[in-house]
Symmetry: C2
DNA sequence: ATGCCAATGTTAACACTGTTAACTTGCAGG
DNA sequence: CCTGCAAGTTAACAGTGTTAACATTGGCAT
């Protein structure tokens, strides 16, 4: 199935693979269809039999990214509420740190506009769903304060996403051990989200 | 000073201006030096007298962005601690929403790598400094719990940055009024950061 | 006032890029 | 067998960033 003949037979897969390694090493802007084709040993227009355009190829990489992110989150979710929430935070940040360029592509925004690739939107939504389910479960256990679900999930999502982005871009002075930073930040948010067992005072 | 002669006299400024409007309307990837020169009415290589390369032009736009962000943050800082902290959060997010493409450029990461443009790093640092000063002031007032300064600033920075990025990219279901979302998120974090006036129980 | 020079433009060219059109090859099923 | 369709090919277009070599000019020193 890997004959050096006219019909390559495995081009689509091999192109994704090669694009992924280029992405990992040099970022999305370094992905060139012509260079990809050259390295694989095929002519550039051949790729258009498998991808509508460059952006569609990038979208597929991002989809794959969201799928593995979802898997990683699911793995740390089967635990008690607090542990699950902190685990999600840590898993999320470590995913971004392990694959910064992939993460940047997934949340590029301008490079992969929302709405242009439905399967991408779905994959992102599915990953987000893991977080939302975990938050809802924790709240139903009475572990979290009875605030609107959308508010709490948005807060958690914002926090881990912002932390990921800032650390991989080097905006945070990472002199300290960074895992501890992520853990501290996550629990700092939780101290505010934990339902007060006693001394419940509203802040109007 | 605007003669249609050989020496343009105002090219640098005009190029920045034009690049900024293109950025605002179509994003950084739509900024083309050749197209810019064409629209201004000058030959492409002329731009290289004023900018080392395309990336340097983008860097100057980002620098300007950080400067105006800093100004906006300073304006809401001259208030009591809690009001200042929430104000920073709101100002930050609204800045991103007013100018999404500029914001994306400022925190591009891959398009403007950290360390390549010292003046950019400084401008970003200066904006961050406003947040850090405000947090430190609030903590010294006793308004915040006595946690490490770096931890609290990192948390606040992560939260507002993540929220900004997620909203401008449409990842958050923005059906609700979004300003209220930002306010809710910011105060939710604060509830966890506020030093408990009574009933101080540590969580080891 | 004049002459020179550095700053600031110009054109031509190189090496890329994404993308489409038109043509060719060869495997698979009637 | 042969034919049709999927999957590859070359040629070409329009665009990009960037550099080299050349042209023009405004201002400064003589």
């Amino acid at each position: 199935m890997s004959k050096a003949s006219y019909h390559h037979g495995d081009l689509s897969q091999q192109a994704r693979q090669q694009a992924l390694t280029v992405l990992r090493e040099q970022g999305d802007s370094a992905i060139s269809l012509r260079a990809l084709a050259r390295q694989i040993g095929v002519s550039a227009p051949a790729l258009y039999r498998h991808f509508a355009d460059r952006e569609s190829l990038l979208a597929e990489l991002a989809i794959h990214g969201f799928q593995t992110l979802r898997q990683r989150l699911l793995q740390v979710t089967q635990t008690p509420p607090r542990q699950a929430l902190i685990g999600i935070g840590l898993a999320y940040v470590s995913f971004a740190q392990d694959d910064p360029n992939l993460y940047r592509l997934m949340f590029g925004g301008r490079v992969l506009p929302r709405g242009a690739h439905p399967r991408l939107d779905d994959a992102g939504q599915a990953a987000f769903q893991v977080l939302e389910d975990t938050v809802e479960r924790a709240r139903r256990c009475g572990y979290l304060r009875p605030l609107p679900l959308s508010l709490m999930t948005a807060t958690a999502w914002s926090l881990v996403h912002g932390l990921s982005q800032l650390t991989i871009d080097g905006h945070l002075p990472g002199t300290d051990a960074e895992p501890r930073l992520a853990e501290g930040i996550t629990s700092l948010l939780l101290e505010g989200a934990i339902s007060p067992t006693n001394n419940n005072e509203d802040t109007p």
